[in-house]
Subunit: 345 residues, 2 copies
Amino acid sequence: MHALTGHTRTLQIPSPYLLFLGDVELAGFAKTALGLRDWAPEKCLGELALPTARVTTGLAAMTPAEAAAKGAKSLVIGIASVGGAIKPEWMPSLIAALEAGLNLVNGMHTRLSDQPELVAAAERLGRRLIDVRVPPANIPIGTGIKRPGKRLLTVGTDCALGKKYTALALTRAFAERGLDADFRATGQTGIMIAGGGMPMDAVVADFESGAAEILSPPAAPDHWDVIEGQGSLFHPGYAAVSLGLLHGSQPDVIVICHEPGRDVVLGCDGFAIPSIEEAIALNLTLGRRTNPAIRCAGVSLNTSALSDVDALALCAAESKRLGLPVADPLRGGEAFAALVESCLA
Amino acid sequence: MHALTGHTRTLQIPSPYLLFLGDVELAGFAKTALGLRDWAPEKCLGELALPTARVTTGLAAMTPAEAAAKGAKSLVIGIASVGGAIKPEWMPSLIAALEAGLNLVNGMHTRLSDQPELVAAAERLGRRLIDVRVPPANIPIGTGIKRPGKRLLTVGTDCALGKKYTALALTRAFAERGLDADFRATGQTGIMIAGGGMPMDAVVADFESGAAEILSPPAAPDHWDVIEGQGSLFHPGYAAVSLGLLHGSQPDVIVICHEPGRDVVLGCDGFAIPSIEEAIALNLTLGRRTNPAIRCAGVSLNTSALSDVDALALCAAESKRLGLPVADPLRGGEAFAALVESCLA
C-alpha cells in the first residue's frame, strides 16, 4: 500500500478480523462473511456465531477474547438482518468484543454510532465503532489533475453483476504476475475485504469525483490501482455515482462487466440494459474527459447461471463478436488470462 | 405551485422576506440580496442594514418588528462574509428578528443550526432556522419513471455562467405568455428566490437523481417546470451533480448556457471548455436515457462583457452557425423571443 497524500484519508479498518455470524440462518444473509473468507483470507482469524446460527464460514470458532489473544483487531458484522437493524440478540457478543479489545465494523445501513449502549462501551474501553457506509469528513472537490500510476476501473451495464469480484480477481491476477497492485474498494463489502476504501454512494454529490481522487492517490508509475466500480452510467438512479467515480478515477483501462440474460435494469422495469458496445462507447466518451488515453481492455461476463460448457462457448462467441477478450474471472482459464494480458498491454 | 407528492418535500421558505445586509461594503458580497430584489420583488418587503453597511437594495429600511408588522415571515441573510462565517456583529440583528417573530434563512456554508445562541433563541421563540444548503431527509433513490408535465433544464458548458438567470428569465417569459410555469431552484440563491427547492450539490450521490425527481413532481400536462441547472457534464469536479440532475429532471427541452470568451473550466486550468455543439450532443445523449424525446431549443449566451452592438452581432452569428435560436436572456429582444418560442414549439 502506498501512503495517502493530503489531509483527508480514506476509511481504514484495523485487521485481522473475527467474523460475526450472529443468528444467521441463510447463506444469502452472510454474504459479507463469506466474501471476506474468499477474498481476504489473510485478514480472517475465525468466526463467532450464536447457537442458533445455521451458516458457517468453515473458519475456527473462537470467542472475542480468544481472537484478541491471536491478534485480532476488529469484530466484523458479517451478516445482514432483514431491514438492516442491529438485533438485540447480537448485543452481548458485540459488547464482549469491545471488552476483549476489538473494534466493531458494520456495513449495514443502521449505524453502530447510533446505538447508545455500544457508544458508551466503546468510549469507556477506547475502541472504535466503524460504520463503513459513513464517508470521511473534509473530502475535497475533484480537480481532474492527472495523478501518476496506472488505474483500472470496472464498469457495468447495470448494478450488482460482478464489478467487485472482477476487480478483486484482476488484482489477484496482477499480483500473481509480480505486479504492485492494490484493490481500491468503493462499497461496504469491498471496503471490509480491502481493509479500507471509500463508500462512494454515501458521499455528497459535489465531492463525488474528489472522493474517487483520494481513493486512488498518486502512486509509482508502474503501480496499479484496480478500482471497484459502482452502479452504471445507464441507471436512472445511480448514474451520478458512476460518473463521479469514472471522472475521479481517471482510469487508463476499463473492463465492462455484464450479466448475459439480464434484459432490464435491476429495479427499474422500463429501462433496457444497454448493449456491451453502448456501455463501452459511453464510458470511453465520458472517461476521456479526465484521461484522454482511456481504453477498454475487454469484458467480464457473470456466467454464474450457465454450465461450464455454455459459459466457455458464450465467452468465445462474444470475444469473436466484439473483437475483445471476454471472460468470467471467477472461472479463470485461458479466456481470463487473455483478459488480464489485455489490461496490462 | 402544484402540490408535492410523496413523503419527502423539498425545502420551503416562508415569505415575504426582510433582507439583511449586515455590515456589507461591496455589492459583490450582497449578491443574494440584490438577486432577490431583482428576481423575487414580490417576496421582498424591505432591508435591514447595520450603520457600517455601504450597499443598499433600494428597498425601504425597516426594523424586524416593523417588517413583521407588515407581514414579513423570514429574515434572509442576503450577504456573504469572507470565509462564510456568521459574524458576531450580526448577532443582535438576528436575535431581534427571531424575537420579532421572523424565521432566519441562510445560504452560506456556516449553518445557523450550529450557532448555539441562535438555536436557543429559535427554540425559546418557536421560530425556524433554515439553512438552504441542507437537503431534506429521506430523499428516495431515483426511479426514472416518467412524470406528466413539461420540463426545461438549463445546462452549461461550465459552472457559473448564467444557468440560474436563464431559467428565471424563461420562467418569467413563459408566465408573460399566460403559461403555468414554475421556476425550480437547485442552488442556494435560486432557492431563496423561488421560496423553496433542492440544494442539489449537497445531496448524497446515491440520491442525486431522486432529489431531482421530487424537485419537479408530476404536474398537469401543460404545466412547465423550468429547472435551474448545476455544474457541467464536462466539469471534472461537478459532473456527477449535473448528470443526476439531468436524469432526474427528465427534461423535454434543454437550453445550453455559455459564456463567450471563457476558454478554460472555472478553477480547472487544464480543462478546455467544450464547444456548444459538444455540450448539446452529450446532454442529449445522456438525457435520452430518461426522456427519449429530449431536444435542444437553443443557446443562452452570457454577454455581460460585451457592448450591446457586439452582443447582438454575436448572438446573430452564433444562431446562423448553429441553426438554433441564440440570445442573452438578460438583454431580451427579438433574439430572446425566438429562443422562448423555440422552447415552447
